[in-house]
Symmetry: C2
Subunit: 324 residues, 2 copies
C-alpha cells in the first residue's frame, strides 16, 4: 500500500513534496520510509549539474536554461547549494534576473540547501532532494554548486551532465582551481563572453582540454566549449544543445549506465554508513554513557577512541548463521 504522502509526491504536489524534503532534512522518523517507497519511481529525470567559481553567472545561466525547458513544456526542479547563489543568498545580491518569478510557475520547483554544518553531509541532502523531485516527475533537475571543494565534486556526481561555468579574466589563484574543476566537466560554458579577455580564456580552456585528452587512456567524450552571455540570453540554445548532445552520448556509449551505477553505489554507501552509525551509537550510549561524556574522556586521554571504535565495529557478526 502506497502511503498518502508518497502518492501526493508522485502526483507532483508541491506542498507535499516540500513537506517531505523538510522532514528528510530534519531526519524525522518515517521520512525515510517514504523515500524508500518512492525509489522505484526515480531514475527518470535528467539531472544537470552547474558549477563554477563565485560570480561566474551560474544562477543567471540556470535561469536561462529554466526558461528554455519551460518553453519546450518540460517541468524543472532546481537544487541550489551555492552560498553565493541568488537562489540561496537571495535579495542581498540584488539578483538582476528575478529568479523568484519562476516560483510562481507551477512547472518549476526551487529548493535551496544550506552549505554549512549540514547534518549527514551536503551530498546526502542534495541526493534526497533530487530523488523527491525525480519522483515528482520533474523532467529536468538543475543542481547548482559553487565549484570549489570536495562537497561540490560529490554533489556534481549526482548529475548526468556537469556544466562548468567559466568567465574571462579570473585571477591567477582562481585559475589554479581550473584543472580540478575541469576534471568533472562534461560541457564548458564560457559566460560573460562579451568581456575583455574572452579570446584568451577560450584559448586557455582549449589548451586544458587538449591536455586532458592527452592523458585519457581511451577516447571518450570531448567536452564542448560554449560561449554565453546569460544576462542577454546569448548562447542558451547552444548550451542546451551541448547538454542534449552529452545526454545522447551517455545513452549510446553505455557510459550513462556506468555512471548510474556509480551514483547508486555512492547513495547506498551513504545510507549504509548512516544506519550503521545509528545502531552503534545506540549501543555506545547504553554501555558507555552519553557520547558527549565519552568525548570528554577521550579528550583527556582517559579512554582510547581507537579501541572503542574497533570494539563496537567488531561486534558486527561475521555472517548470517554465525554468533557474534
Amino acid at each position: 500500500m502506497e502511503s498518502p504522502l508518497a502518492a501526493r509526491v508522485r502526483s507532483g504536489d508541491v506542498r507535499a513534496s516540500a513537506r517531505l524534503m523538510r522532514a528528510l532534512d530534519d531526519r524525522l522518523p518515517g521520512a525515510d520510509s517514504v523515500l524508500r517507497e518512492l525509489f522505484p519511481h526515480t531514475g527518470r529525470a535528467q539531472v544537470v549539474g552547474i558549477t563554477g567559481p563565485p560570480g561566474a553567472g551560474k544562477s543567471s545561466l540556470a535561469a536561462r536554461l529554466i526558461a528554455h525547458h519551460r518553453g519546450s513544456g518540460r517541468s524543472v526542479g532546481v537544487v541550489a547549494v551555492d552560498p553565493t547563489s541568488p537562489f540561496t543568498g537571495g535579495a542581498i545580491l540584488g539578483d538582476r534576473i528575478r529568479m523568484q518569478d519562476h516560483a510562481l510557475d507551477a512547472g518549476v520547483f526551487i529548493r535551496s540547501l544550506a552549505t554549512r554544518g549540514h547534518l549527514g553531509g551536503l551530498s546526502r541532502s542534495a541526493a534526497d532532494v533530487v530523488a523527491v523531485m525525480d519522483a515528482m516527475g520533474k523532467d529536468v533537475i538543475l543542481v547548482e554548486t559553487v565549484g570549489v571543494g570536495q562537497d561540490e565534486v560529490e554533489v556534481a556526481s549526482l548529475a548526468h551532465t556537469v556544466v562548468v561555468v567559466w568567465v574571462p579574466g579570473l585571477g591567477d589563484e582562481v585559475q589554479a582551481l581550473k584543472a580540478g574543476v575541469l576534471e568533472i566537466a562534461d560541457v564548458l560554458a564560457l559566460n560573460k563572453a562579451d568581456r575583455e579577455g574572452a579570446d584568451r580564456a577560450l584559448r586557455d580552456l582549449g589548451a586544458l582540454l587538449k591536455l586532458r585528452r592527452a592523458v585519457q587512456r581511451e577516447p571518450g567524450w570531448e567536452p564542448p566549449i560554449v560561449s554565453t552571455v546569460a544576462i542577454r540570453d546569448q548562447g542558451t540554445a547552444e548550451l542546451s544543445a551541448a547538454i542534449a548532445g552529452h545526454r545522447a552520448y551517455l545513452e549510446k556509449s553505455g557510459e550513462g549506465q556506468a555512471r548510474a551505477a556509480r551514483r547508486a553505489r555512492s547513495a547506498f554507501l551513504g545510507r549504509l554508513r548512516e544506519r550503521l552509525l545509528d545502531g552503534a551509537l545506540d549501543r555506545l550510549e547504553r554501555e558507555e554513557g552519553p557520547l558527549d561524556e565519552v568525548a570528554v574522556r577521550i579528550a583527556a586521554r582517559q579512554q582510547d577512541p581507537y579501541r572503542l571504535a574497533d570494539e563496537l565495529a567488531a561486534r558486527l557478526p561475521r555472517g548470517a548463521g554465525e554468533r557474534p
Copy 2:
C-alpha cells in the same frame, strides 16, 4: 611495547613521520595501530587554522608566522589543504615568498593534502597528519585551508584557534561568503591592509562582528581584527599576540576543554564510521557479491538499497550478551 616506527615519530624523525603519513593516506594495514600507539602522546601542540578566500595571502601570512615561531625556538608543522596555496600548488603560482626555504629547516615540517576525491574525507586525512605532527613534538601546527565549503569548516574544527584572512576590495559574491566564514573566526587578519579600500573593509568587518555579538546568547570571546601586510612582514607580531590571546582565553574560560571534547567526538565518530563500514562491506561482498555488481542492480531498480542497508545495519547485535 612501542613499535620502532612510533618511537621514531615520537623522537621527531622526519622521514619516519612522512612514511607514516603516506601509509595512513594509503590506508595500509598497520598504519592505524601506530596512530593508536601515538594517541596518548598527542594533544600537546597548539593547532592554528588559517582560512580565507583564494588570493587573500594565507600562505604568505603562514610563512610570517612560521618565521616568528622559529625565531622564538618553537618547532612548526604546516598542513596545507588549500588548492591555491603555494605549499600545495607550488611553483605555478610564482610564490614570491619562497616557502620551500623552510623545507631546509629541520624545525619546520610541511605536508600538503590533495583536496579532491580523497578517500575517507579530507578532514580525516588532515586530522591524521595533525596527530602525527603533534606526536612528533611540534609546538605549533598551522592548518591552511581555502575558506569556502563544508570541508574547510570541518578542517577548521581541528584547530584551537581559527584565523580568518580577509583582504580589501573583494567582489560582492565573495563578500556573501563572509558571514559564513566569520562564524568560525577567532582572530581576523585584514591582509594587504595597505591597499585601497582597507578602511572600508575594516568598517565592514567591525559591523559584522557587532552583529555577531548581538546574536550571541552569552558574552564570550570577541575576535580581534589585526591589519597585516604579509609581503612586507607588517602586523606579524600583532597577529601572533592576538592568537596567543585567544589561547589564553581558551585556557582561562574552560572553552578550550569544551572544544577539545568536540574535536575528540568528531575524530571518534569518523573512526567508528569507517570501521563499521569496513565490516558491513565485507559481509555484503560475501552475501550479495561485489559492491559494484550490487550497485548495477540498484541502478536498474532490481535491488532496494534502503532494505539492503537497513538489513546490514540491523545485524548489529543489540547488546553484549544478546544474539543477533
